[in-house]
Symmetry: C2
Subunit: 202 residues, 2 copies
Amino acid sequence: MTSRTAPFLQIALALAACAAVHATPAPAPAAPPGIAYVDGKLPLPADYREWIYLTSGLDMSYRSVGLPGHHMFDNVFVNPEAWRVFRQTGTWPDGTMMVLETRGAGDKASINKRGLFQDGDVMGVEVHAKDSRRFDGGWAFFAFDDRQPAREIDHAADCYACHRAHAAVDTTFVQFYPTLLPIARSANTLSPAYLAQQKHGD
Amino acid sequence: MTSRTAPFLQIALALAACAAVHATPAPAPAAPPGIAYVDGKLPLPADYREWIYLTSGLDMSYRSVGLPGHHMFDNVFVNPEAWRVFRQTGTWPDGTMMVLETRGAGDKASINKRGLFQDGDVMGVEVHAKDSRRFDGGWAFFAFDDRQPAREIDHAADCYACHRAHAAVDTTFVQFYPTLLPIARSANTLSPAYLAQQKHGD
C-alpha cells in the first residue's frame, strides 16, 4: 500500500484531514483482545457487518460545499466486546475497533419514488482502533485499500488532532452516535473539550 | 392501542399504505423461536439495536413529494438467528423479525458543516415478523405506540399486497438491502414478481 490521500472524507470518525502517510510501528507489544495484527498491519475485520451498529450519516463533511447530485452514506459499527464495556462504563476499552463504511446512494428504483437508499458499492472502509500500549495517544486510524491489511495512518495527520480537540468521548465522535451519547452523559465521561464546546454553542 | 393511521410511511418495510386496523388473532399456535407473544400481542424486542444491521435510507417514500426541509432516516435490523439462516439459504425462517426504526436528522452541529446525521429522536418503530402457522401469508406487520406491545396490522391493509407484488424475497424488500441481495441472487430465491420487474425496467 503506497502513500496516498485518503479517498473519502467523512466526519463520523473524523478521518477527513488524514493524509495517509504510514507510520513505522514501534516494536509490538501483545495486542489486546479483539485486535490481531499481521506483520505489523491490521487486517480488515471480516465480520464487521455483524458487529454493533452505531449510526449512519449522509454526506457529512467538515466542508460546506460538496459535489452536486453526488451522495454517500456512511455506516459505523463497533466490535461487540467494546460495546458491552461502553454500555457499562461510558468509555472504550483497549481492543475497541470502530469501522466506518462508506456506501453509494441510489434514488429512484423499484417502488421508491423519493429519498435515498444504500446500494451495493462500498466506497471505502476505515478503522479507528484503541490499543494504549501500541499507539501514541491510545488510538490509531487505518484506511483499507481493496480490503487489504493496513498500516496505521501517521500520527502527525490532522485527524488525530481534530479528534482530540472535538470528539465527545476519548477521541471518538460520540456526539453523532445517538445510542451512545446518553450513556456517556450518565457516566460523566464526556470530554472537557466537548462540554466546553456545548457551553459556548460551537 | 387504538385504531389509527400509521404515523410514519416508509418503503424499507413498505408499511406506507397500512391503515392500522388491528386484526383479531386466530387461536394461537406455539410461537417459533425468536418470537414471544404476550396476550396475543408482540412486544417490541428490547435489544433490536444489537441485532444485525441491514441498511439505512433517507426520506424513502412511495410518494414523489415530501415536506421541504424535513428529513428522516430509517434503519433496518434483523434478528441474528434469521440472518444466519438467510446467509445460508437466501430466504427467511419462521421466527424472523425485521425492525424498522425511524430517526430524526440533524445537520449543522459540532464540526459537521454539511450533510445529515441521526439524532436521538426515534420517530417510530415497526416490525415485520414471519410466523407461518399464525399469520395469513406467513408474515405480519406491527406498529408500536410508545414501545408498547402491538397487535398485528390487519391483513387487508395495502402494505401486505404491496409487499407481495414488489418485494424481492418472500415479501421482504431485499432489493434495498445491499448485503442480502447478492446472497438471494446466488441462492436463486428472488421472487418471480421482482425478476419480472427487473426485466421490464420497472
